[in-house]
Amino acid sequence: MNQIFHPSANVIAKASIGVLIVLVGVLSVFLYFFVRSSWMTGVNISEPQPVPFSHLHHVRQVGLDCRYCHTSVEEAASANIPPTETCMTCHSQIWTDAPMLEPVRVSWRDNVSLEWERLHDLADFVYFNHSIHVNKGIGCETCHGRVDNMALPMKVNTLQMEWCLECHRNPAKYIRPTDEVFTMGYAETVPAGHDPLVEGHELVAQYGIEVGRLDNCSICHR
């Protein structure tokens, strides 16, 4: 009988197994990082908006509180994006000629909604509620970052399941007193030599947060 394969085929066969294993490994690592990349999650990317609304100007420089515009954040699941009327409470009097604000005036005059491009948008099979987090001492800053430094809004966290769980398994790392929830730059106001984790555990107990329960699937998938 003739030999079909050359003896070197043995080496190739063995090597190809190795190559296959390496390929699978590389692919897994690639996928691991790919799904977490900002290309997939939109982290640190801002979208063009109908009006270049700047939190930096309105929050940092004018000193507005988040609740002046995001009115339902303490009471409801949704934080609320302000209606055109809210912009007009000020811009009916100031910056009335600015071309940048023309879409706002058109929206007000013709009674059509401004259509903002949404950045934070959880999958529809996930249940999320702002009020519980805000009332139990999780700051806007913890999830949304230094909004007061953003000229255009951006996502700073992936909003993936592992991110939610990281906190739900140990909220003491992130919790702050409820009257500091709207503070930006809270970490800098904590006195030196003060261990936030110790205070964190106290607050978790004080606010009655049952940590063991918070990673049940039905908390977020209901």
Binding site: V62, G63, L64, D65, R67, Y68, T71, A76, A77, S78, N80, I81, P83, E85, T86, M88, T89, C90, S92, Q93, I94, N111, V112, S113, E115, A123, D124, F125
Partner: protein, 204 residues
């Protein structure tokens, strides 16, 4: 015989493997679990001509529940009785209500009226019309219902805050404005002797 069993076993294993591999994929456009045919608050929608998922109720809609109770209580809901402003705050005023009023005032009013109500808030410094200070005799002598009415219906160039401040919170703000007015206009002889002597020594 055993060869066909092996083959179908291989086929089944491959199918299960493929099913597991693709179970996370959203293959059919428009039928994603991620993007279900439901509307979240403030989403855009093709259902109505104005593209809004959250519609504004038609005029004269009668609400049910809590808001019905509010609206049946005329002095509480409008700040008026028989067309006249009431001069009393129709909720119980205590420390908690005052603190709530302070918080709400600082969020919604201080940008223009300033933290002490002198009318020199940040937005006024950027060119907004300056409102009267709350510490003038004219504003001080207004009845409680007047302040409630300004928040509810607006006043001159100031827009209504009814959509943003709950009726109960509007009354808490009225209570806090009264506290602010008092704090800037305390009669000397209502102070404890110590404070009064200190002030008198400063004046001399």
């Amino acid at each position: 015989m055993s060869k066909t069993v092996n083959k179908s076993l291989f086929g089944i294993t491959l199918l299960i493997f493929l099913a597991l591999l693709t179970s996370g994929c959203d293959l059919i456009p428009g039928r994603h679990m991620r993007d279900q045919p439901k509307l979240k608050p403030l989403a855009a929608s093709t259902l109505f001509d104005n593209r809004r998922a959250s519609q504004i109720p038609p005029a004269n809609t009668v609400p049910r529940g809590e808001w019905y109770e509010f609206m049946s209580d005329e002095p509480f809901y409008t700040g008026r009785q028989n067309g006249e402003f009431i001069d009393i705050i129709p909720i119980e005023v205590n420390r908690e209500v005052l603190l709530r009023g302070q918080e709400r005032f600082n969020i919604y009013c201080s940008p223009c009226h300033g933290l002490v109500g002198n009318g020199q808030g940040m937005v006024v410094q950027r060119g907004f019309k300056q409102p009267n200070s709350f510490h003038t005799d004219q504003v001080r002598s207004q009845p409680d219902g007047y302040f409630y009415d300004v928040m509810t219906n607006g006043f001159g160039v100031m827009y209504s805050y009814a959509a943003r401040v709950h009726p109960e919170d509007r009354w808490a703000i009225v209570a806090y404005i009264r506290a602010l007015q008092f704090s800037q206009n305390v009669p000397l002889d209502s102070l404890p002797t110590e404070d009064r002597q200190q002030i008198e020594s400063l004046v001399e």
